[in-house]
């Protein structure tokens, strides 16, 4: 054995103690990776500009209070929106292309409940830019738009007085949305959080246009957020026999609605108010029928709401236009409904209808409610010279300057949707605009609001306005094709269990149970975090040159050694990196 041990074999190897550091291979590259968070489509679609990938990522780690705080940065109504928002975010969720959108709405509700006690520390003054200090703002209207404006103004350091005509705050949220969709307790939690910021709220304080003339001088700015509280009236013979659906809903919320046991109730209209009224009537013991002059698919009501109503036993008579109402001898109401037919598709994609000429159908009801829309209670004349932003109009020249919000401004802002989330977004936009007005001057308002937008949509982010990380993200919206499909695993979408239609129709209990904590985490984990680095570390793991350095929790490309192969960018599952020409 010793002979073999001493065998001499040639062994000439290249070996260097000087290391290859001296060879700066990065100098060869003509293109290099850059870290750059982009915009997730959900966040762009959210009228409140919630930073959805970020809050999902926090929730996935069980950091509920932090996740809720991320919501509250941009939206003071998580308990409310987690229930009633029509969640345009989910419609844009990239995950929908794989196995169903992330349950963003259900998760928002979960967070608002789960983090209730460990709630984020007060956000008062958290956004103080200095401009608001000492400035007084009157906010007219205590619905979602006005409360949102007051919340964001207070955070920006303004002192707010909120005037509401009704006995309690909440507007349509309190008086127009039935408890099975929004339990009063959830709404109260959101409103208390807002008023805790030091907002002086006066209820039972009706204001009108003369208020501005009389009192406005005492304020530095006025926010008009009175919404549309006057119901539109039917224009047909016997219209006075129809009740107002909004008033009916308000009475039901206040437990002062009449018993409808065994009664036949008709609701005229196709919006959410009509569906809410029909389902409420059903819960009060009636049989309920919705009459709508166009087709089912043309109804402005959310499809899910309508489907729920029909499942519970509400009848829908589409293509039926009420022509007259008449009281019959037995006290019931005879409703003559003219059959309609499709006469083309309008520019909004909804069907246009015309009379068929067939004789009207005669239907007998015990009560009829009209839910055909509402108008501002007061003719708030928005000056034509007002600056029209995405969701509000600002009269910069007014003395004092005034902002017209939400539904009220929708006539002059045709792109504005009339939804709770849009109203909240409208209040935030006005707060940012007023802050910009006082800190930067009237000439800068539009640019400052523009700078705060998320992606290419109208939504504004307070975080972005205040110069936070959000504002530094690329406006480019990440599409499904930008993601790396190798990292996208199928995982089922899940919502909280739903009451059966029969159970649901029996009372005003919430239709759906909340997500369990384990489901909430599983659902949050489904978020791809489109465009937003979530520390998955693939870039560093796969860099063949070990040129991705991690220090203090932040990653950086060492351009001395990065050859620009692009593997990190390819392996980034979520498009939070991109290849760019080196900037010398």
């Amino acid at each position: 054995m010793s002979g073999l041990r001493s065998a001499r074999v040639s062994l000439l190897l290249p070996r260097s103690h000087s290391l290859t550091d001296a060879n700066k291979t990065g100098s060869w590259s003509f293109i290099q990776p850059r870290y750059g968070d982009k915009t997730a489509p959900c966040g762009e679609a959210c009228p409140c500009a919630e930073d959805i990938p970020r809050l999902e990522s926090l929730a996935a780690r069980g950091l509920y209070a932090e996740a809720l705080r991320a919501v509250l940065e941009e939206n003071p109504f998580p308990a409310t929106c987690g229930r009633v928002c029509f969640h345009p975010c989910e419609a844009r969720c990239n995950r929908a292309e794989l196995d169903g959108a992330v349950a963003i709405n259900a998760l928002e509700r979960f967070l608002s409940d789960a983090a209730r006690d460990a709630e984020a520390p007060s956000l008062a003054g958290s956004g103080a830019s200095g401009s608001g200090a000492g400035k007084r703002v009157a906010v007219l209207g205590g619905g979602p738009a006005g409360l949102s404006a007051a919340y964001f103004l207070a955070r920006l350091g303004f002192s707010c007085e909120l005037l509401e005509a009704a006995p309690e705050l909440g507007g349509l949220l309190r008086y127009g949305i039935p408890a099975y969709r929004l339990p009063p307790e959830a709404l109260d939690r959101d409103i208390e959080r807002i008023t805790r910021l030091g907002i002086a709220a006066r209820t039972g304080a009706r204001v009108d246009a003369s208020f501005l003339a009389r009192e406005a001088a005492g304020y530095d700015a006025v926010v008009v957020a009175c919404g549309k509280s006057r119901p539109e009236r039917l224009a047909l013979p016997g219209a006075e026999l129809a009740g107002d659906a909004l008033a009916f809903l308000a009475a039901a919320r206040a437990d002062s609605a009449p018993s409808l046991a065994g009664k036949r109730v008709a609701v005229i209209g196709g919006g959410n108010g009509a569906v809410d009224a029909a389902r409420t009537a059903l819960r009060l013991g009636a049989s309920a029928t919705i009459l709508y002059r166009r087709r089912r698919e043309d109804m402005p009501a959310f499809a899910d709401e309508l489907r729920g109503a029909l499942d519970e036993g509400v009848s829908l008579r589409e293509l039926r236009a009420p022509a007259s109402l008449a009281r019959r001898g037995d006290g019931s109401i005879l409703l003559a409904a003219e059959p309609m037919r499709l006469a083309g598709i309008g520019p909004d994609g909804r069907g246009r209808v015309e009379r068929t000429g067939s004789p009207a159908e005669e239907l007998a009801f015990d009560a009829v409610y009209a839910a055909i829309g509402a108008a501002p209670d007061e003719a708030w004349a928005i000056p034509a010279s007002s600056l029209k932003l995405g969701r509000c109009a600002i009269d910069l020249a007014g003395s004092p300057p005034r902002a017209y919000l939400g539904d009220l401004a929708s006539a002059s802002l045709p792109a504005l949707a009339e939804s709770v989330a849009d109203a909240i977004g409208s209040g935030k936009e006005a707060a940012i605009a007023l802050d910009a007005l006082f800190s930067k001057g009237p000439g800068r308002v539009e640019a400052e609001v523009e700078r705060s937008r998320v992606g290419g949509g109208p939504s504004v982010s307070l975080g972005a306005y205040l110069g936070g990380e959000r504002g530094r993200r690329s406006r480019r919206v990440v599409a499904y094709a930008d993601l790396n499909p190798d990292y996208l695993e199928r995982r089922e979408r899940e919502l909280g269990p739903e009451l059966s239609p029969a159970e649901a129709a029996r009372g005003f209990a919430e239709l759906r149970a909340p997500l369990s904590p384990s489901s909430a985490i599983a659902q949050a984990e489904r978020c791809f975090s489109c465009g937003l680095c979530n520390d998955c570390d693939n870039c560093r793991t796969y860099c063949p040159e070990v040129a991705v350095r991690l220090s203090g929790g932040r990653r950086a490309v060492d351009t001395d050694y990065c050859k620009g192969c692009g593997i990190c960018v390819t392996e980034c599952p979520r498009s939070a990196m991109s290849m760019e020409e080196p900037v010398s």
């Binding site: 073999l4 065998a7 074999v9 040639s10 062994l11 190897l13 103690h17 000087s18 290391l19």
Partner: protein
């Protein structure tokens, strides 16, 4: 201890007994049984080693290159397309002078898709600087794997232990499996001549400009030459412990043979039957089994052939445009020396059987033809298919 082992198991047992520290491989038929067995050993603790799962053979070889650079004993196995995918890394392993051992199960390359025996895959890696040992049976597969580590670590070159697909890899035979204690005596713990060390960082495989590259290549050639001298010594030690030796080449009844059949792999077992038959009938026939292909044992071949007039070389491979590869190599080894005329036959590609009868045909064709044809003769071709 005598056990009935599949050829693949015999190799895996040898790697276990060699106490390899890192195994990395990607499955491919007909090699998979080998690494499946080793994966089992790693997981049940009968081998104190780590199995690195990878996404390709290229990465498998890269992994063992990394591990071997760190100074541990490594093992991998592959076959056919998997080996072809490793090609770049095979060059690296040898030039980095890493004593990696790989089992290579000879399988045909596609298309047409074929899982069966064919030598083209390993012979296509002829110039990668790997030592190649071709085995005839399960016992030799086990023994060669143990010897491969000894040799590789002496000369700092990687070794490929080559097995016929199915005929050897999937065939159960009685195999004398040595005890761990015996193996430890033959194969001491690996003492690397160099290894990466975080305490003394340096770079291996640095840039080698023209003024030094040629010397490094010459060093590899020298090491190959050393391997040729050292394998007999390794075998000597092996025989001292285990009582078996396999040779650089295995000459069977060649002493006075006029016609010798030459080949590598399991076909040699079939040839032994024919040789015995012909010898019984008074014919002077022998068999030369080539075990070592790289380095090529030219001297041993010349010595074994003795007075033979004709040498029929059976290749289970074809270098297209040139013919059987073993025949070419043997011709080159005999060039300039007195020796037999070389008759080249291509047979048994893609798993086609080589039978006693087909070998008898080769013998008779060689006997009856005074001069060898210039081209390789293809054995048992279905000419009617080719004519269509």
């Amino acid at each position: 201890m005598m056990r009935v082992l599949e050829g693949s198991q015999a190799v895996a047992e040898a790697a276990r007994l060699a106490r390899v520290k890192v195994v990395s491989a990607y499955p491919i038929t007909p090699q998979t049984h080998i690494v499946e067995e080793l994966a089992k050993f790693c997981s049940d603790g009968s081998l104190d080693g780590r199995f690195i799962c990878v996404e390709s053979e290229h990465s498998a070889m890269a992994s063992v290159i990394g591990a071997a650079s760190g100074g541990v004993r490594t093992f991998t196995a592959s076959s056919s397309h998997g080996l072809a995918l490793m090609h770049e890394m095979l060059h690296w392993a040898s030039a980095a002078r890493l004593p990696i051992v790989m089992a290579e199960v000879n399988r045909a390359l596609g298309p047409g898709w074929n899982l069966w025996m064919d030598q083209t895959d390993s012979l296509a890696q002829r110039d990668t600087g790997w030592i190649q040992l071709y085995c005839e049976d399960g016992q030799e597969a086990l023994d060669s794997t143990l010897q491969a580590y000894r040799l590789a670590e002496l000369v700092n070159l990687p070794v490929m232990v080559v097995l016929d697909a199915f005929f050897l890899s999937h065939t159960y035979e009685p195999v004398d499996e040595p005890s761990q204690e015996e193996v430890d005596r033959f194969l001491p713990p690996f003492e690397p001549k160099f290894r990466l060390d975080v305490a003394d960082p340096y770079v291996l495989g640095e840039v080698a400009p023209p003024y030094i590259y040629m010397e490094m290549r010459r060093s590899i050639q020298s090491a190959m030459e050393s391997a040729l001298c050292l394998l007999p010594e390794v075998e000597e030690e092996f025989a001292g412990i285990f009582g078996r030796r396999h040779g650089l080449v295995d000459a069977y009844r060649c002493e006075d043979a006029e016609i010798v059949l030459a080949m590598a792999g399991t076909a040699a077992s079939t040839a032994r039957i024919l040789v015995d038959e012909l010898r019984a009938a008074g014919r002077r026939v022998g068999l030369l089994r080539i075990r070592l292909f790289r380095p090529f044992p030219a001297q041993a071949i010349r010595a074994a052939l003795g007075p033979a007039r004709k040498l029929a070389v059976l290749d289970r491979n074809c270098s297209f445009g040139a013919g059987g590869i073993f025949a070419q190599e043997i011709r080159a080894a005999l060039c300039g020396h007195a020796g037999p005329a070389v008759y080249s036959y291509v047979a048994g590609l893609g798993g086609r059987d080589i039978t006693v009868e087909s070998l008898r045909g080769v013998y008779e064709a060689t006997r009856d033809r005074p001069e060898p044809p210039t081209e390789s003769v293809w054995v048992g071709l279905r000419e009617e298919i080719l004519c269509e």
